[in-house]
Every structure is written in structure tokens, then in C-alpha cells.
């Protein structure tokens, strides 16, 4: 079992105030600023829940795919994954689009796409976010 923690402090109202993600268990980041304006796209340089979900999913997905490839004897040299999360205020998170470019010796494009689809279905973050209406993956062997 693994437990992961994060803490956020917010001061003031939603629209005029702002907050920070001030601590995570690993200590790897802290004092990341957050605001509502950043979340709705009116302000750059500050993170949002949707960006953190994108980071979580891209990370989880890369681990799942590299594990599956290695188990089949085709360990990847590198995987470059991006996740794009679509958030509609009022409707929630409606779509996550994964895209992966892999340098994987020993397999062809069809086998890579099959492994990529399998990782999408099975990575723990995909499972946790299974209520998202649409999760897609685009896989390209480089």
C-alpha cells in the first residue's frame, strides 16, 4: 500500500484570492501558486487541478507502458507521453487525450499501438478516472 499526500492553503475569495500547493509528501515541489483565473485560462504561470491530473495520468501511463513493453522483452529506450485534460466548468472533466512517442527496439508500429491501448486500459490512474467520458491514446513509434 502506498499513501501520497499534498496540502494546499488558500487565502481570500475564489475570484480575488489565491492559494499555494504548499507541501507534498516527497517534498519535490511546494509553494506552487494556484488561482481561479489560471484554472479558467486567463492567467499563465500557475498550475491547476486539471494540469496536475494531466501530469499524474501521463506519469502513470508511461510507467504502465514501459512495464508492459519490458515484460514482452522489448524494453523501451524512451517514451515521451503527453496528456491533455479538457475541463468544462459545470460539466467537469470531459476528456483526456494521451499521446505517446516511443523509441522501442524490436517491435513494429502495430505491436506498439496494441501495447499503448492496453496500457491506457490498465494503468491505475486510467482506472481511477474511468468515469471520464472519453479517454483516447495516440501512439507513434519513432
Amino acid at each position: 500500500m502506498a499513501e501520497s499526500t499534498a496540502s494546499v492553503t488558500w487565502k481570500g475569495s475564489l475570484l480575488e484570492g489565491g492559494g499555494t500547493i504548499d507541501h507534498v509528501g516527497s517534498g519535490v515541489f511546494g509553494d506552487l501558486p494556484i488561482t481561479w483565473k489560471a484554472r479558467t485560462g486567463e492567467e499563465g504561470g500557475k498550475t491547476t487541478p486539471e494540469e496536475l491530473i494531466a501530469a499524474a495520468h501521463a506519469s502513470c501511463y508511461s510507467m504502465a507502458l514501459s512495464h508492459a513493453l519490458a515484460q514482452d522483452g522489448n524494453a523501451p529506450d524512451s517514451l515521451e507521453t503527453s496528456a491533455t485534460v479538457t475541463f468544462v466548468p459545470g460539466a467537469g472533466i470531459t476528456k483526456i487525450a494521451l499521446s505517446v512517442k516511443g523509441s522501442v527496439p524490436g517491435i513494429d508500429q502495430a505491436a506498439f499501438v496494441a501495447a499503448a491501448e492496453d496500457a491506457k486500459a490498465n494503468c491505475p490512474v486510467s482506472k481511477a478516472l474511468a468515469a471520464v467520458h472519453e479517454i483516447t491514446v495516440e501512439a507513434l513509434l519513432s
Binding site: A2, G12, F29, T48, S59, V125
Partner: protein, 150 residues
């Protein structure tokens, strides 16, 4: 309402077991973080994991929902602190699964009593998009404490 799109990316070198990755906030450039499988299973200072990023997402989502509910009720918060714990466990027959997310909130809210604060926290839990999503697959719980004035 606008459609909002956020991106992140990771570059992973090598296998899961021996390799490592760097996850980056592609939309805002807000963070660039090292991650490994070892840091996912055991807590390693200085390396993040998908579950830690989800904990940060949930805490951030909940705090904005709570602030919004308090303001809607006419008692905007002065200060809120939200802590989130995500638990991943091995589930028999299903492999590793994210099984729980627990949110703990403390807030200084001028003019709010325990009842109105409790109602706002419940509405925040119901309204937070992340809580709604993950509730379909994991246990989501929260506790909320109203603190005295500053």
C-alpha cells in the same frame, strides 16, 4: 462556459524498474518534476509519483470548491488549508488500484458558524469535479474543521 484544456508531458528513459522520468506542466510551465517507480511504491524525498500529483489535484480542486460554496453562502473565507491523502493498494485480481482519497480541510471563515460551514463543506465535496470523478472508482471521504478568527 469556456472549454478549458490543460496539458502535461513526461519523458521516460528506460524500463519502469530501472528507468526514470521527468514530468512537466506543459500548459503553464509551473513545474518540472523527477519521478521513478521506486518513489511511487516507497516514499522517496525529492521524487514525485502519479498518486502524489492526484493528491495535489484533489486538494486544489476541493479548496476552490469550498471557497466558492462559502462565498455563495455570504461568508467568504479568510484562509483555508486542505490536506489530501491518496491511497493505492494491491487489489486481489485487479492489480494496483487507487482505492481511496481523503480530504481534510481547516478554514478561518468570518461570520460562519459550524452548521453553515459544514453545509458548505458537504456542497464542496459534492461539487468538486475531481471528487465526483474518483468517487466512481474509489472511496472519497472528507473532514472539515472551522477554526477561530485570526
Amino acid at each position: 462556459m469556456p472549454r478549458i484544456v490543460r496539458e502535461a508531458e513526461i519523458e521516460w528513459e528506460g524500463t519502469t524498474a530501472r528507468g526514470s522520468g521527468v514530468v512537466r506542466a506543459a500548459s503553464t510551465g509551473s513545474f518540472e518534476l523527477p519521478t521513478t517507480i521506486a518513489s511511487r511504491v516507497d516514499l522517496i524525498q525529492g521524487k514525485t509519483s502519479p498518486e502524489e500529483l492526484l493528491a495535489a489535484a484533489h486538494a486544489t480542486c476541493f479548496v476552490t470548491s469550498l471557497g466558492s460554496e462559502l462565498a455563495r453562502g455570504g461568508t467568504p473565507p479568510e484562509r483555508m488549508h486542505v490536506h489530501c491523502t491518496i491511497t493505492m493498494d494491491e487489489v486481489e485480481g485487479a492489480g494496483h488500484r487507487i482505492v481511496a482519497s481523503h480530504v481534510s480541510a481547516r478554514a478561518v471563515v468570518p461570520g460562519a458558524d459550524a452548521e453553515t460551514f459544514g453545509a458548505a463543506a458537504q456542497a464542496a465535496d459534492e461539487g468538486c469535479p475531481f471528487s465526483a470523478l474518483i468517487r466512481a472508482s474509489a472511496s472519497v471521504t472528507y473532514e472539515a474543521t472551522l477554526e477561530g478568527g485570526s
